[in-house]
């Protein structure tokens, strides 16, 4: 995302909020790993929901650690998709594993 010009950069920003209101800022493109987020942001050209207009999504049912992990995974996935290097392990804390799983299901990741 380094070589994007400024306006692109602005429109590319996405804010995600966890159930406790913690804010994460990331690139829209990264978030497209999740099918749910992608359609929320108008993966098609037609929908224009609140989320898309404000470039922010509030997840009322996702806790901060889980959301953080999810976002980590977005970057992980983007980095290693179509990469030829060996996949390093993606570290997951045992405590959140079930929640993470449910969240992944929710987000269609």
């Amino acid at each position: 995302m380094t070589d994007n010009n400024d306006s692109d950069f602005q429109s590319d920003i996405l804010r995600l909020y966890s159930s406790t209101g913690h804010e994460f800022v990331l690139s829209r493109k990264m978030s497209y790993v999740s099918g749910t987020i992608k359609s929320m942001l108008g993966g098609g050209d037609n929908s224009s929901f609140m989320e898309d207009q404000n470039s922010e999504i509030r997840f009322r049912e996702i806790s901060t650690p889980v959301l953080e992990k999810v976002i980590q995974y977005f970057y992980f996935k983007n980095k290693y998709t179509n990469s030829t290097t060996d996949l390093p392990e993606f570290p997951i804390n045992d405590k959140i594993v079930v929640d993470l799983l449910l969240c992944a299901h929710f987000l269609d990741t």
Partner: protein, 739 residues
């Protein structure tokens, strides 16, 4: 970390486990409101996350079915409203209204689909229902497009618009394009809706439209004009398809229009008087022919029919030329007209029919057909070549000669009885060579080379032998002259002998004449010389083919006469007596009466009257013909501007007797060839059954002539008699080769 949600069964514990009907109803209420909002195009006030989460939970708590059905009812109800809106729109706004509601519906269904994505992924998938979006399409189709007030109206409006365009009005193509696209989309992965609701009636309409149109055109236009119109119509229809119909309709529309415009009127077009196919051919209308070829090529059988008509036409013309007595008398014009015909059709074929192989084939067949109609064609071809090589090629460049010969050869190819041609060609070539009449040696050789590539070595070996003989004779004569000089016995005249190999040359019955003593003496000298070089050969003098130059002293002037050997012998008689009867001449020269008459005719002809004659029946007007009772005397009043006088021999027209002779000779030759071919085949195969053998023989001999199976059978029988072959004892139809 991609998960497979459907397979994962975890008790939902971290979130409040609220499966009671109240929560579900609340969730649906929320969604219902949201969808209504979406229908009002107010989606921006909605939170996707909230809706998604609610739908997610509903499905997760096994309320997918309820959600799906509720959604269906909701959309259904909404679309009924939409349909009413569309229905009340007036005619002009109708399509627009429909189009707008369609695109709105599409948008809202996409959004609904997105919020209910989870249901699509799990419940719909498991229950094997149409996905939310497809359900939306189906509902739209049933409620709006298929609503009784809309369906027919839609179709009629579309057809009306297209009709308008056909009549030259400008219509909103993009609108129609959208509508047809809608019909295609509504088919959900198939084009059934498009095909049933629109395409089929459209094609029917198109057909009836062009049926009427074409009737009108054809009754008012000439064939070329009609074809031009058809071209335009076809182009328009195709454009129409590409502008606003589905591409799958293209072949169908093409089919329908072509059928109406071309197939149904093919015969009328071709047979149209004054402008149909035949008159196009006659008038060389290449553009029109090309157009016709292109149009007819589109429909099945079109070209076949066209081909047939052309071929029949050529046959008619050809037949006329070939069978026309007047024309066949003049071989040159006869052939020239054939060549012209061939040229013309070759050109048409190339320029109008794109060198279509099938057309070429049918052209060839047609030529073959009529050329072989006249049994004299082989003779005429040979005569034509003779004519060309004797005179026609003076002052013509080598390339042109080549082109001409190629053309002749093309016609030659059509001839089935090539052996008959060979016979005649040999005769004519012999005459040209011996009388030195050939204009160009190169052209002669060129022709033979062409024949050789066409028919193979066998065909021309004898012809080439004739050339070799001529060359060897030149050498022989040079040697003979030296020999004479060594003899120190000068001769009173020059002798030039061509030694010809029997077999290469067309054998003519050696009708000898009594040569004057001094000449005989000279001949003896040559014979002695030749035999001393080539032992064991037999020399036969062919006096009927020679020429001579003699000096004749007339009272006015001394002339040099170029005459044939026979004429020379006759003239020399007049050295001794001034007046001779026909009988006397005949006795003293020994020339056969037929030849004698002909030569005397030449000598007494009005142009070069060397001899004068006295007819007994003096009352008759001066007659060219020679009677046996005539008396001849030396014409002292002979006058000519030229010093050298060439006595033209009366052209030897082939008499009926000679014709049948040639025919017999040809038949005799054929017998041998058939036998040779049978023996060759049997030698290789050892045993063979009757029908196979015959077909094989015909195949082998095809390049020379087409043998009659009955004759082949006779030859087989004759070979059995002579014990070359034997019938098999087990199977009478089998033949066995006897080594």
């Amino acid at each position: 970390m991609s998960t497979k949600p459907t397979k994962f069964l975890v008790k939902y514990s971290s979130y409040p486990h609220n499966n009671d009907p109240n929560t579900t109803t609340t969730a649906w209420k929320l969604l219902e409101e949201a969808i209504k909002t979406i229908h009002l195009k107010n989606a921006s006030s909605l939170s996707f996350e909230e809706l998604y989460r609610n739908a997610y939970n509903m499905v997760l708590h096994k309320n997918g079915e309820m959600l799906y059905n509720n959604l269906k009812n909701l959309v259904n109800g909404h679309l009924k409203e939409v349909a009413k809106q569309v229905e009340i729109a007036n005619d002009e706004a109708f399509l627009n209204e429909l189009n707008t509601s369609w695109s709105e519906h599409k948008t809202s269904m996409l959004m609904v689909r997105d919020i209910l994505m989870y249901m699509d992924r799990t419940y719909v998938d498991q229950a094997k229902l149409p996905t939310v979006y497809d359900m939306g399409l189906n509902l739209f189709r049933d409620n709006v497009v298929h609503s009784p007030y809309i369906k027919d109206r839609l179709l009629n409006t579309l057809l009306d618009l297209i009709q308008k365009e056909r009549n030259g009005e400008i219509i909103d193509r993009i609108l129609i394009k959208n509508i047809t696209q809608m019909l295609i989309d509504l088919g959900v992965n198939s084009k059934i809706v498009y095909e049933e609701d629109f395409e089929t009636p459209f094609l029917a309409k198109t057909a009836s439209y062009y049926q009427v149109e074409s009737q009108q055109f054809i009754s008012s236009c000439s064939c070329p004009d009609y074809m031009k119109k058809v071209e335009i119509c076809l182009k328009e229809e195709l454009e129409r398809v590409s502008h606003y119909l589905d591409s799958s309709s293209e072949p169908k529309v093409k089919d329908v229009t072509e059928k109406q415009l071309i197939s149904n009127h093919m015969k009328t077009l071709i047979n149209m008087e004054n402008s149909g196919l035949i008159s196009m051919l006659q008038e060389d209308k290449i553009e029109d022919l090309k157009r016709m070829y292109n149009l007819f090529g589109r429909v099945s059988d079109g070209l076949n029919y066209m081909k047939e008509v052309i071929s029949n036409h050529i046959r008619e013309i050809g037949k006329e030329i070939v069978m026309d007595e007047e024309k066949t008398k003049e071989q040159t014009t006869f052939f020239q007209s054939l060549l012209d015909l061939k040229d013309k059709y070759d050109r048409l074929h190339k320029e109008a029919f794109y060198n279509d192989k099938q057309f070429q084939h049918s052209l060839f067949r047609a030529f073959e057909y009529f050329i072989n109609l006249n049994p004299k064609s082989p003779e005429y071809i040979s005569l034509f070549i003779d004519e060309k090589l004797k005179k026609g090629l003076k002052g013509v460049s080598e390339e042109e000669v080549d082109v001409l010969l190629d053309k002749i050869l093309m016609l030659f190819r059509f001839i089935q009885e090539k052996d008959v041609f060979e016979k005649y060609y040999k005769q004519h070539l012999a005459k040209r060579l011996l009388l030195g009449r050939s204009v160009s040696d190169d052209a002669e050789r060129n022709m033979i080379a062409k024949l050789k590539t066409e028919c193979g070595y066998q065909f021309t070996s004898k012809l080439e032998g004739m050339f070799t003989d001529m060359r060897l004779s030149v050498d022989t004569m040079a040697g003979f002259k030296n020999y004479i000089q060594t003899l120190q016995k000068p001769m009173s005249f020059d002798l030039n002998v061509n030694v010809l190999t029997t077999g290469f040359w067309p054998t003519q019955s050696a009708s000898n004449c009594i040569l004057p003593r001094e000449i005989l003496h000279c001949c003896e000298a040559f014979k002695a010389y030749y035999l001393s070089n080539h032992n064991g050969r037999l020399l036969i003098w062919q006096t009927n083919m020679g020429t001579a130059e003699i000096k004749a002293s007339f009272p006015s002037k001394t002339h040099e006469l170029q005459v044939s050997t026979y004429q020379m012998v006759i003239l020399l008689l007049f050295n001794e007596s001034p007046k001779l009867t026909f009988k006397e001449i005949s006795e003293q020269t020994g020339i056969p009466p037929v030849d004698l008459k002909r030569n005397l005719m030449a000598l007494t002809s009005a142009k070069n009257k060397v001899l004068d004659k006295e007819t007994k029946d003096a009352k008759e007007a001066p007659n060219k013909n020679i009677e046996e009772s005539d008396v001849f005397f030396f014409n002292t009043k002979f006058k000519s501007k030229l010093f050298r006088v060439k006595i033209m021999s009366v052209v030897q027209k082939e008499t009926p007797v000679e014709a049948t002779e040639t025919r017999q000779k040809v038949d005799e030759d054929r017998k041998h060839q058939i036998e040779a071919s049978i023996v060759r085949i049997m030698k290789a195969r050892k045993t063979m059954d009757h029908s196979n053998l015959i077909s094989e023989v015909i195949k082998q001999l095809q390049s020379r002539f087409v043998p009659n199976p009955i004759i082949v059978k006779k030859r087989i029988e004759s070979l059995i008699e002579r014990e070359y072959l034997e019938r098999s004892k087990q199977d009478r139809k089998q033949y066995i080769y006897m080594a």
